[in-house]
Every structure is written in C-alpha cells, then in structure tokens.
C-alpha cells in the first residue's frame, strides 16, 4: 500500500493502481472518458488531468493525466487546483465543439456520462462559433443504434469491441477531427457482445435499439435486480419497466460473475415478456374433449375446478423445470410429494447433470466462477461451444489468455493498468487455450490449438491429457500419434500453469467428455495446482433443479403410462422441447388432467386442461442456481396485468383448492410470501440450506423503510391516470421483498442484492458503479455475490473415471447427429424477442465436405430432412471442421423439437430438390 496526498489530505491506496482509480476509489470526483475499470488506461481523452507536485515545497506543479500516472508512495496531487480545473473544463469545451446539443431527444439523456462530466467540470459557455462536423450514421442491426455526430472520440467502443471482445467489424476510420467509429459499411454488428457498447460509450453514439422501440425517459423507469434466465451462467442484470412493458436490460455489476459486461442474448432477450404470445388469462377446458379450446374463466372458478380435479385424481405427478425458480419447483414438489416430482428434463440430461453434480460434490476441485475463469492461466475446453452456449464465459476466456503474457509485462515493469503499453508489450502473445469441439466459431482463432472431432474422440483426448499429467489418472492406450502429441502439449501447458481451468458441458450430450474433464482436473489437483472446473449446463436453473432432486421426464411418462397417476402439473416447461413428439402426445393424451403453469404459449400449453398464466422473471421473485452452483435472487420489477402471478403462488392456490380446508393446511398451501417459499426451499435439500443467505428477507428494512424501485426523479406519477381520476392510488404492495413499487423509501448503502440502479449524485450513468466500490473494479462494498452451494469436501480424488469410449467410427449409412447450440435461437425464451429473432440464422445441417460428396450434396443447397416423425427444411453447410461421420444440426426454433445426439440414416432422411422432382 502507498500513501498519496490529494489536496493536502492523505489517502492510503494500492500502489499498483493509477491515480485516477485511486482517487475514484476514495470517492473523489475526477472526470474521465477513455479510461474504463475493466479496460485500463490509454491517455486519449485528457479529461482526468490533475496537478502533480514534486514535493511539499513545489508550488507550481505540472498537469498530469491521473489515469496514466502510477499511485506511487508520496505522490502529491491536487484535483481542485485552479489550473487543473480550468484545463479539464477546456477539455469538455473541445469535446463540445462538435457534439450536437440534442440532449432532449437523445436516448442517452438522463444517464449520459458526458452530461455528468460536463456538469462536473463546470463548462457552461460555448465559445466555438464555427460549423460542426457531421457524419452519416450506419444501420448496425437490431440491437444497436448509431449516431456518430455525438461521438467524443474516446476510443472506448473499439477498445471494447476489438481488444476486449474479439470483434472485427467495428473500427475507427479517418483521422484528425474527422474520425469515424463504425463498420466498413452498414450492416449488423457481428460480435456477440455488441450490446455492451451501449454502456461502454460515454454518450449516445451507440444506444440500445430495443429500448428505442419503446423508449421512455430513464428516470421514469421502474427497475429491479434480476438474474439473466437465458443461459446457465447467471449474469446479474437490472430489468427496467414502465407502463407494464419491460423496456430494457442493463448490466448489474457482480465482481464474481458478470463484472461489467453481458452478452447480447442476455441483454436483448428480454422482450419475450412483452410478447403477444404471453398467456395473460387463466384458461380451462370445461369438457374433457381436448379438441375443444380452453376458455378464459375467472380465477376463483378456474381454481375451484382445478381443485376439484386434483381431489378426484388417481395420483398427481408434477413436472418441474430447469427454467423455473427453485421456489416454484419446491412448491410443485411440496404439492405432489417428492416421490411424484420429476425434474422435467430428459433422461440423458438428467444423467449428465447428476454426473456433474457428483464430480463437484465428491471431487477435490471446485467449480469456477466467471471471475475465476478470467484469472485462469491455462484453459482446456472439452466439447462445449462456449461462444454459443455460455457466451459470457467465452468473453472471460478472451481475458484469461492475457494472464500468462502478463509475466512479461511485469518483468518490463509496465503497470497492468497501462493498457496500451501492455498491448504493445504483449503483441500477439497468448496464454494457453485449447478448444476441442465440433463446431467452428471465430472464438477458435484465439486458441493455442484446436481439435475438431466427435464427442467420443474429444473425451479420449481429455482422458489422454489426464493420462499425460499422470498422478494415477488412467491413460488411453490406442491413440494416433497426432492426438497423443496434442494431448502431451495440452498436458504440458496445463501443468505449467498455476490456475488451470477445465471446461466441459452438457451441450454435446456426452457423458465421457464430462468424466474426462474431471480426470484432467483431478490429476492437476494431485500435482499441487489449483485447478478449477466449469460445466456449462443447459438452462438457468439446471443446477438448482438437480440439487433439489427428482427423476427424469421418463419417470413421469412411465407413471402415467402405468396408470400410477392420471393428473399432471407441468411447471414452466414445454415438454415437446424435451422428448419426441409421439411420446409427449401419448403422455398428454393418456393423462386425465393436464395443468400447465407457464408464461408463453407453446405446444404443451395448448394441451392444458387448466392453463395458469405464470409470471416471468420480471414479474416474480425467486432464486436460481447457476452452473457454478451459485444461488442468486431475482426480484419482481413490476406488477403484471391480467391473471398473471408467480408460479409458486399458483401452486399454493392449487394446493389450497385441493385441500378445501381452511385449517390444517400443510406444505405449500401455508406459504404466505416469498420468505415462506425460501424457508421451505432451504429445508427441501441439505445443499439448499443456505438459500436464505442469498439476499435479505422481505422483512429487511433500513431505518424502517423499504427500498424504492423507482428513481428519485420519477416524474408525472400523479398525472398517470389523471384522465380517470385525480386521486393518486396507493402503490401496489410487495409482500415478498424489501423493495417497494414506489419512489419513496431508503436511498443509501445497501446489501448488493438490493441495489437495482447504480446512481450517485453527479453520476447518473452506469459509471456510478465506481461509487459502490472500495476499490474501483473490485467487489461492491458489502457485496453479497450469491451463495456457492457446492464446495469441495475432500482433497482426495474419488475413483478415476475409466469408462473410456472407443474411437469414433463413422458408419457407412448413418451419421451421428450432433446438436449445435446457437447464441441466437438456441434458447426458448429469448427466441420470442423480436430483436433476437432477427438474428437467428436459418436452420442448417452441417457436414464434412467428404460426407457432402458421399451424400451428393452441394454446399448451401436446401434439403428436406425427415426425422423423428417431422420433416424439416434446412440448408446444407459443408464445413471442414465438422468431424467426418457426424452431422451438426443447429438448435434454432424450427428444430427445437429435434433430439440429438442420435444416429440417423441420412441417405434415407434427406430429400433434395432433385429427388423431390424425381419423386
């Protein structure tokens, strides 16, 4: 630690920081633009100038850029120095030379960092009297709006997009005062993290296009803390709403999970909440005839009817959901009983996740947070397509490959925050990242080595790597020389690292890759390394559901088929995404009564005898467990209209309707608010015991007050319904959380799960996160980053996995159909958001060119694929990265019912235009 003197006051700071970060960390206001806590300093904007003095006798001093000056011990600076202040005001004056004064109509207005910094420096009077330069704006696709005239040339956008996120299609063109930040020509921004430009840009050049489509002023938004439901990583978000419409998603800083950045699926996938396909009314089918449509009915009548059916049922089973909250699943489990509660995932997924849980529970290697992944110094990915399946993790790995080259940076005594110098010193040097998979993405270009093979071969490579690391891990006997050498290289790289990370996932459906990953990690552990494991799971609460326990969907099908039950309650689950259509049809047809609780229309909901409209993430509270095993709470943003309510409340009401008694209620029927649900969840499984520690309970108050969801400046509340009445109605009551649907309440330091919007006086943009951290870029003050539910207990590896698959053998007639996850299109909820839908690629079948030749298929022709009882029209992609003998199938909505992996006779299944004509 070092002591620096700022305006004659001493501060203790970390000498590895620069002066700007040190000052901000102590709550001192120094304006800045080009510096970013996650992207370091480049010294471009010159906004953070302060006066530095040689010693206490130096009266004149000199201006330095605080972001480019290390906070060495004894540094003496002044922020308030008149010359420094005047210079900073001049920098704003220069930036304003060409900045349009369009704040009143600018989407950034109200949370514009440029506005904040302008006010902070005190620049008020325009002296430039010449014409401004103007630019033509570009159309950048469905996510981002472009307004180049507002640009202040801080270079943050391309530094994020290119240097941090690996994007290629955004750049800076031109020079002097005619710089252009955009694409070479109009077109959709390709990078999966483009949405972060909205927050990275200090002004309104890059703004959220989805927000623009239903724009409302920022300070009129009602916001709450949420957890992204669109993949298994559990990124923290802030969801904002007005007039019952969810308006946008913003990043919510969590030092252990998403840090400052989200992926585009997470940021722009929210619009399913506003979808026309939302189920808004409770529906019942009065007749038992499924051919007749279900009709809307009053909630009491629906519940009465449902209760009647439940009372007369010969056994009720419940099908839970990996995309529903823990509390909702526990409610269902309580209603039907643990023996009749099924997880609502297919047998294969059930098996894979059980294996993963057992590896994390019994093995000595802990799971990795995204933060851990960023810090890891060697990475081996086995089979998981991170860019498409867990994008934010891929972004973390793009940072992890900078870890090893940092040794050189340290040797050269370049401070790590000195970003430009670091990049100049590092150049193209990258730390080890090995990717084994079967779908090529641009992310592979950052890999030290790649290996494209069928899952069995990927697993064999993994086992072989574990074998080369040794420590008792079994080796693979019959490898080709090439793979043996690759395994040796990977093994060497991992053993030379200190914090290696091994990643696998459920995406390929391969048990063996998961087991191989465990062997590698365990071998490294025995070698004295500190390895971490990361398993990508299918959905946002896959881990939580697995912790809760329960059989797979097959069990549910069996119990109906055998007549052990005749009534089924389906919780937030479209079974047609999880099993063959024929099977699900049979299951639903056999069941006497099907009760579905969900938020969006889907084929399963169409079969419901009783359909109950469930609240989405933005309309309910609950707990999710991410792939790391971290439990996190999401909060209701607004009170939905219609009959929509939380799934757990529907289940409680069903339980009450079923029992028909007023006294003597048990289980879920007794739940009053979310606290009851959380307590019941904590008791539902030993590993869930700490669920209550995830966030403060509904009773939490600060000086007797709740925490407002609306901003201090929320305007016009009294006039919202003035055309109906001039009396202001009381705000809705929130019995479930310490938050209120109002603008009144406590504003001040809060436990981090309760911070919905980062705001501080003078800091209206998301840059205000600085004000919530003791050390800029570090954890939030009193951060509660969620509770990790699974930590390693033993230090000894359990028995090594030895079930090594045989080398993959292509078959003469059949191809192994492999699922290809898609960042846009591969997830059920976000698919319903128009902006995401625009980015979904048409369905395709990917084949190795030699297989294409065997099948007599040309690249990019359209085929019909008859599979599992359905015919799909899709394009053929011939890719040399697709392993011979396999066929990749993109998991876009059109193909969501397809089951993979599976062996398929493509000669029979494929019909081309030609064969169709012949027929």
């Amino acid at each position: 630690m070092a002591t620096i003197i700022v305006d004659n006051k001493s501060y203790t700071v970390d000498e590895r920081q620069n002066l700007l970060a040190a000052c901000l960390g102590h709550g001192l206001n120094v304006p800045y633009f080009c510096w970013h806590p996650a992207m370091g300093s480049v010294g471009a904007c010159r906004q953070c100038a302060v006066k530095q003095f040689k010693d206490d006798r130096d009266q004149s001093g000199r201006l330095v850029m605080s972001c480019m000056t290390p906070a060495t011990n004894g540094t003496r600076i002044s922020i308030d120095d008149p010359e420094a202040k005047a210079f900073r005001a001049s920098v704003i004056e220069w930036l304003m030379v060409n900045h349009p004064h369009d704040c009143p109509v600018c989407d950034e207005g109200g949370e514009c960092h440029l506005q904040d910094m302008t006010v902070m420096t005190g620049h008020v009077y325009r002296r430039y009297r010449f014409p401004k330069r103007t630019h033509r704006n570009q159309s950048l696709g469905p996510f981002i709006r472009h307004e180049m005239n507002r640009c202040i040339q801080c270079y943050r956008c391309i530094r994020f997009y290119r240097d941090y996120a690996g994007g290629r299609d955004l750049n800076v063109f031109g020079s002097h005062d005619a710089l252009y930040f955009g694409r070479e020509q109009d077109g959709t921004l390709e990078n999966e993290f483009s949405g972060n430009l909205v927050e990275v840009c200090p002004t309104g050049v890059f703004t959220d296009k989805t927000f623009f489509h239903h724009y409302t002023r920022k300070w009129d938004l009602q916001s709450a803390q949420s957890i992204c439901p669109h993949c298994s990583l559990g990124c923290n978000t802030t969801v904002s709403e007005r007039y019952g419409i969810v308006r946008r998603i913003a990043n919510r800083f969590n030092s252990q999970v998403n840090g400052y950045f989200l992926c585009d699926r997470g940021r722009f996938g929210y619009e399913y909440v506003n979808s026309d396909k939302r189920i808004k009314r409770a529906l019942v089918r009065p007749e038992r005839d499924r051919a007749k449509p279900a009709k809307p009915e009053g909630v009491p009548q629906v519940l009465e009817m449902a209760g009647d059916r439940l009372r007369h049922a010969r056994g009720i089973i419940g099908i839970g959901s990996p995309r529903a909250s823990l509390e909702a699943n526990v409610a269902l489990r309580s209603l039907v009983g643990p023996q009749r509660f099924f997880q609502g995932v297919d047998e294969q997924e059930h098996q894979l996740i059980s294996t993963i849980l057992s590896i994390l529970r019994t093995g000595p290697v802990p799971s990795a947070s995204i933060r851990d992944a960023e810090q890891s110094d060697a990475v081996f990915v086995l089979g998981a397509d991170l860019l498409n399946d867990a994008s934010r993790l891929a972004l973390a790995l793009l940072q992890s490959i900078r870890q090893q080259p940092m040794e050189r940076v340290d040797e050269l005594k370049i401070p790590r925050w000195d970003e430009a110098a670091v990049r100049n010193a590092v150049q193209d040097r990258r730390g080890p990242l090995f990717i084994a998979g079967y779908q090529h993405t641009w992310f592979h270009e950052y890999a030290t080595d790649t290996y494209f093979a069928a899952p069995d071969d990927i697993a064999r490579l993994g086992f072989a790597v574990a074998g080369t690391i040794g420590q008792g891990a079994p080796s693979v006997p019959d490898l080709t020389g090439e793979v043996r050498e690759l395994a040796q290289r990977i093994g060497d790289a991992l053993t030379h690292a200190e914090r290696p990370l091994i990643i696998a996932g459920t995406g390929s459906g391969s048990q063996a890759t998961i087991e191989a990953a465990a062997n590698v990690a365990w071998a490294l552990h025995h070698q004295g390394k500190q390895p971490r494991l990361s398993f990508v799971l299918p959905e946002c609460n896959s881990a939580g559901l697995a912790l809760l326990g329960g059989g797979s969907l097959n069990g549910a099908f069996e119990s109906i088929r055998r007549g052990q039950a005749d009534t089924v309650i389906v919780l937030e689950n479209d079974l047609y995404r999880r099993a063959d259509q024929a099977k699900v049809d049979a299951f639903l047809d056999t069941a006497q009564t099907v009760i579905v609780i969900d938020s969006l229309e889907h084929p399963t909901a169409a079969h419901a005898d009783v359909l109950l409209p469930a609240a989405t993430y933005s309309e309910s509270d609950g707990t999710l467990v991410n792939q790391e095993g971290r439990a996190q709470r999401f909060y209701q943003v607004f009170v939905p209209d219609g009959d929509v309510t939380e799934s757990w409340r529907w289940l409680r009401d069903l339980a009450r309707a079923k029992s028909q008694e007023v006294d003597g209620l048990t289980g879920v029927a007794t739940w009053g608010n979310l606290d009851d649900a959380v307590s019941a969840t904590a008791a539902a499984a030993p590993e869930l015991a700490r669920i209550g520690e995830v966030a403060p309970s509904a009773r939490f108050r600060v000086v007797g007050q709740k925490v407002p969801r609306q901003s201090d400046r929320c305007s016009g509340r009294t006039s919202l319904i003035s055309h109906l009445t001039v009396h202001e109605p009381p705000p809705p009551v929130d019995p479930d959380s310490p938050l209120g649907f109002t603008m009144e309440g406590y504003r001040g330091p809060l436990p981090s799960p309760l911070i919905s919007q980062f705001w501080a006086p003078g800091w209206n943009s998301i840059q205000a996160v600085n004000k919530y951290q003791d050390e800029v870029g570090g954890p939030l003050r009193d951060e509660m980053p969620g509770v990790r539910l699974i930590e390693p207990v033993g230090t000894k590896a359990p028995h090594w996995f030895t079930a090594m698959p045989r080398a993959f053998q292509p078959s003469s007639r059949e191809w192994l159909l492999l699922p290809l996850p898609a960042v846009f299109g591969g997830e059920e909820l976000s698919n319903q958001s128009p902006a995401i839908a625009e980015r979904i690629s048409p369905p395709f079948l990917s084949l190795h060119p030699s297989d294409g030749a065997r099948l007599n298929l040309e690249d990019h022709i359209t085929i019909d694929l008859a599979l599992q009882g359905t015919t799909y029209r899709l394009a053929v992609h011939l890719e040399s990265s697709t392993p011979v003998g396999t066929a990749g199938i993109s998991l876009v909505p059109e193909l969501s019912g397809m089951r993979a992996p599976a062996w398929v006779d493509l000669f029979e299944a494929i019909q081309t235009e030609r064969t169709r004509r012949v027929a």
Partner: protein, 434 residues
Amino acid sequence: MERPLTQHIHPDGTTRTLREYVKEGGYRCLERLAAGLAPKDVQRLVTEAGLRGRGGGGFRTGTKWSFVPMGPDAPKPKYIVANGDEMEPGTFKDRVLMEGDPHGLVEGMILAGYAIDAEIGYIFLRGEYHLSAQRLNQAIAEAYAEGYLGKPLPGTGFRFDLHLHASAGRYICGEETALINALEGKRAVPRAKPPFPQTVGLWGQPTIVQNVETLYNLPHIINHGADWYHRLSRTQDGGTKIYGISGRVTNPGWWELPLGITARELLERHARGMADGVRFRGLLPGGISTAFMTEEHLDLPMDFSSIPPEIGRLGTGTMIILDDQTCPVGFVLNLEKFFARESCGWCTPCREGLPWVAKLLTSFEAGRATSDDLSLLEMHAKWLAPGHTFCGLAPGAMAPLQSALKYFHDDFERHITSGGCPWSRKSAQRRILV
C-alpha cells in the same frame, strides 16, 4: 571546412554508386568492427563524439542507445529503425542524403544495428520520396550482393538485415512511436511513454528509432574518432549539420556547415541576404514546429545547446524565412491548417483544438475576428503544452503561434481593427462582402 556527409554528393543530382562509395572510404569501418571494435566500443565512441539526434529533438544518441538491454539475456530480436519520414515542411536534408548517397544510410544502419546488437533494420521512408526509395532499394540490393547485409560480417559474427518501408503518408509518422505503430500495420497513433521504444518498441521488442542524418554521421565517427568529430563543430556538441534556408532570400538552398554557426552567417553569407525589395522579419529555425526567431536572435549559434528554451529550439536546422511582404497571420494559418489536418485524432486537445485554431486564424484573415478570438488563440497556446497533450505534435503546432502572438501581436490586432488582412489586396473588397 570539412563536409564529411556531403562532400562526395554529386552536384548534378545523380547518385553515388557503390563503387564510388567504397573507393572513397565507404564500408571501411566494417573492417574496424572486424578488428575487434565491440558494440560497447561503438556506443562509447558515439557518446564521446557528442552526437545528438538530427531529427529535431537533439537527444544524445549515445544516451539513447544506453537504454537498450544488452548482453546474452537481452530480448531478441532487437530492431533499428531509420526515421526517413521527412515530412517537416521546409525540411529536405534527409532527402539530399538519401538521394545522393544511399549507401551512407545502409552503412550507418549496419553500424547502429551493431552497436545495439539489433539484427534487423527498417528504413521508414516518406511515401513521396520515390527517388530515395528507388536509390535506397538499389543500394540495399547491392549491399546484400556484396555481403554487407544478410551475411555475418567477417570477424564479428554479426549479421544484419535491412528492409525499406515506404510510409502511407502522415506527418505523425515522424513521431517515433507512431512510426512504430505504422510499421506494425496499426494506426499511426503515438504510444505513451514509458515504456520507451528502447525496451518495448517494434513488435514489443527493444528498438532504436534514429533520424537519417544522425545515422549518416556514424561511419565518420567510427573512422575518424571522437576528437576529430568534435573539431568539426563550433560548439560543445560534435559534428556538422545540414542547414537549409527557404523563403525570399537571394540564394535559397542547403549547406553542410559546422554545428553552431549563427543564423546571421547562414542568412547573409550562405543565402546571400534577403531578396530584393523584401526585409527580414523572422525565421522558423528548423521546421514549422519551432518558434519564430527575430532580428535580435540572429547571432545565436544554431545548435542544440545555445538557444534558450524560452526563445525556441533548433529543430531540423532548415529554416523558413518570414519577410515583411508576407502576412504573419496568414503564414501561421497555413502552418496551423497543416497541423490540424495532420493531427492523428487520438487526444482531445490536439484533435479539437488545432482545427479550432485554424478556423480562428481563418477568420482573422477574413476580417471576422474579434479580440475574444485573440484570447482563444492564447488559450490554445497555453493549454496545448507538453504533457497536456499525448505527444509533441500540438505543442509543436503552438510554437509558431505562440511566438507569432508575441512578436507580431500588432499584426494580429491590425487584422481585427482593419477588418481584414492588411497584406491582402482583396481585403477591401472582402470587407464589403462581409
């Protein structure tokens, strides 16, 4: 008077051939290397000779080299880069050398590479110097054929490769770190220092960027020694300098003269005074990023040590003369337009400040300026100072402006009071239009 750099350059503009070059003593110092002159000896000789960078900065070459990590543990490869991006308006000294005597640069590069143990060299050449490029390419090819390049030098084991790179053309490429970025294929934006190129330079490796004229001095220092080199000069720094004069003088041109000659001697003896009918008002001593000097400064020795910093600096030593028939405001406007256009756009004060200055000066010339504009010009001259901006371009741009505001303040005032440029014949007419 000895002129080691230029004595053999053909007055007719043709180039010196390899045969001539070798016959007249070229590449002879390589034999001295073979005879046991170690890299550290070369460094010591250059340090003792007091060679200072001829690109305008005047940084001591020996000192610059001393920062390069040496020895077996030093990072490899290391690079030596010749800065031939001679884009300073009014400056053409490197061109004279490269066109007239291309092998001198090749030999200088080999020596500099040897001194810092850099096995790869690049000549970063101004894009418009087609003739230089042609002649250098030929010289490099000849040097390869003769084994000066691409093969271990006899008796040393040192092997040097040299490449010519023609710039895509930006003034900022003359700034050594922007030059490095350009050479790497990146935007020609300067880099923050530290780290200096000596440790983290081209492709992250130790690199020395050296002006062309500086490199031409090296063979002579090695051949004749430090004492001889000091005797060439009239001042404490060693060697000769190529001086030049452009503007309305009787005999504009360039001359290799002892370092430390006075401006008056240059102007009156070598340029033979002002042209008929015009009088001297001031001069920019070396390129347009140096401050004006006036009559009172003419007796200052033109070297790197004798000009007080509050007056200015030598720069490249190729002067531009301002006469009394030329409007100093228009003169400065022309410079500032150039600077505004050549700003790389990286830092705010330079990118936004310089175009503003150019627009203000334009309004002076157009008769639309007010006294507020004068204070705006002064504001920029004050703020666009070293350390405030990312590199030296904007402070350099302010040197002529600030000194013009000092020496020709009345002329700026006259533009305001008379509603136009007193030098312009059209000014009366323009006033009516306004």
